[in-house]
């Protein structure tokens, strides 16, 4: 089995190997000074048209659908907040996540979108402050699967074979082949980009919930949203199974089964409307 530190170094190197647009460095510097306005940052992102287009594609797919297309970064910044847009910019700058998901695992993009929509619906139901940040967690919770496919192709092929042969969860095959999970890999990248824990934790721990960890409510939401999408058969997360619900995560959210039923019905409507997929 590969060494964990070596794996991590290779994942972190993605950021430096692929060309990170200079704009990302400038934005990071601008944000760290703390004196710039959202409009100035939006203007800076807008200078890189390819990057801006990728970000807007994610924004329009995952957060507002086709109902209310967002056509400028500054509009996205107002609606979603700086941390969500910054995360999307960092992610979009290293990989075109929609193309990468479609290429490596047909259906993973639809699963990610569905999980984003479910997380958003759950967060709104619980009246959390930042449903968009929960939706972001849903959207990117499986980003590590694409990173594994791209960075460790031989191991990815072994993982896929194992899932096909045993009918197990992809995450169990990841542990057996790599010794780490897609959640670890996603966390490494997000931490390398210095994103705040409120963004990183729900993605890092969506399949390994602990009630005393910070941002447990958001993590529980992404965990449940993933399960609901799998139960509804929306997209394809890499296997045909459903992981067991974490009882502590469920207890923390204080939802009822009728809440679950309504969120599932909302997912059906969004699939029918073409918002997911």
């Amino acid at each position: 089995m590969p060494d964990r530190a070596a794996l991590r170094a290779k994942v972190e190197a993605i950021t430096t190997v692929l060309t990170i647009p200079a704009v990302v460095g400038r934005i990071t510097a601008m944000i760290s000074t703390g004196t710039v306005s959202a409009a100035e940052i939006a203007e800076e992102i807008g200078k890189d048209q390819v990057l801006a287009a990728r970000v807007l594609r994610l924004v329009n797919s995952a957060f507002y659908g086709f109902r209310q297309p967002i056509t400028t970064i500054s509009h996205a910044m107002v609606l979603l907040g700086l941390d969500v847009v910054k995360t999307l910019v960092m992610t979009a700058s290293v990989l075109d996540i929609v193309d990468a998901m479609n290429q490596h695992m047909a259906g993973l993009w639809e699963h990610s979108l569905g999980t984003a929509r479910a997380a958003n619906a759950l967060a709104e139901r619980l009246a959390l402050d930042d449903p968009e940040e929960c939706a972001l967690g849903g959207l990117l919770h499986d980003m590590g699967k694409v990173v594994i496919a791209q960075t460790f192709p031989a191991e990815h092929a072994r993982i896929r074979r194992m899932v096909a042969e045993r009918g197990c969860l992809q995450i169990d095959a990841e542990v057996e082949v790599l010794g780490v999970t897609h959640a670890d890999v996603g966390m490494w990248l997000l931490k390398k980009w210095s994103l705040p824990p409120k963004i990183v934790y729900p993605i890092a721990y969506h399949s390994n919930f602990h009630p005393r960890r910070d941002f447990a409510d958001r993590t529980a939401i992404v965990h449940l949203a993933d399960i609901l999408c799998r139960a509804k058969g929306i997209g394809y997360p890499g296997d045909d199974r459903i992981p067991k619900l974490n009882a502590e995560a469920w207890g923390l959210l204080r939802l009822s089964m009728s809440d679950v039923e309504e969120v599932c019905a909302q997912l059906d409507r969004e699939v029918a409307d073409g918002l997911i997929g």
Partner: protein, 104 residues
């Protein structure tokens, strides 16, 4: 329902979802029948996948098949009351959709 690469789209197929650009702007509404000229225009706009009506995926699948897939997904959770309650919801919604005209 199946989402297919535009290169595999054939004239005569009908869009099951709107065809949109990467920025999410709808170019062609759901229900539109694909023609050779329309496929060419979508390609020109950089749209690389479309959703069409067909037998793969949820829509149009016989309800028995949908229910069998749900059974398979929930296999191993029979002793878990919460998971069984979720399964009941999913089965009920699948049946309702089957009656509403086959759209999953």
């Amino acid at each position: 329902m199946p989402r297919i690469p535009l290169s595999e789209a054939r004239p005569g197929q009908r869009l099951s979802r709107p065809a949109a650009t990467r920025a999410g702007v709808i170019m062609v509404q759901a229900g539109t029948e694909l023609t050779p000229a329309l496929i060419e225009r979508l390609r020109f706009l950089g749209i690389d996948t479309v959703s069409v009506h067909g037998e793969v995926g949820g829509a149009g699948r016989p309800i028995e098949e949908v229910l069998a897939a749900i059974d398979a997904r929930f296999a191993g959770h029979e002793g878990d009351p919460w998971m069984m309650a979720l399964k009941e919801i999913v089965v009920r919604q699948a049946r309702e959709q089957g009656q509403a005209g086959g759209h999953a």
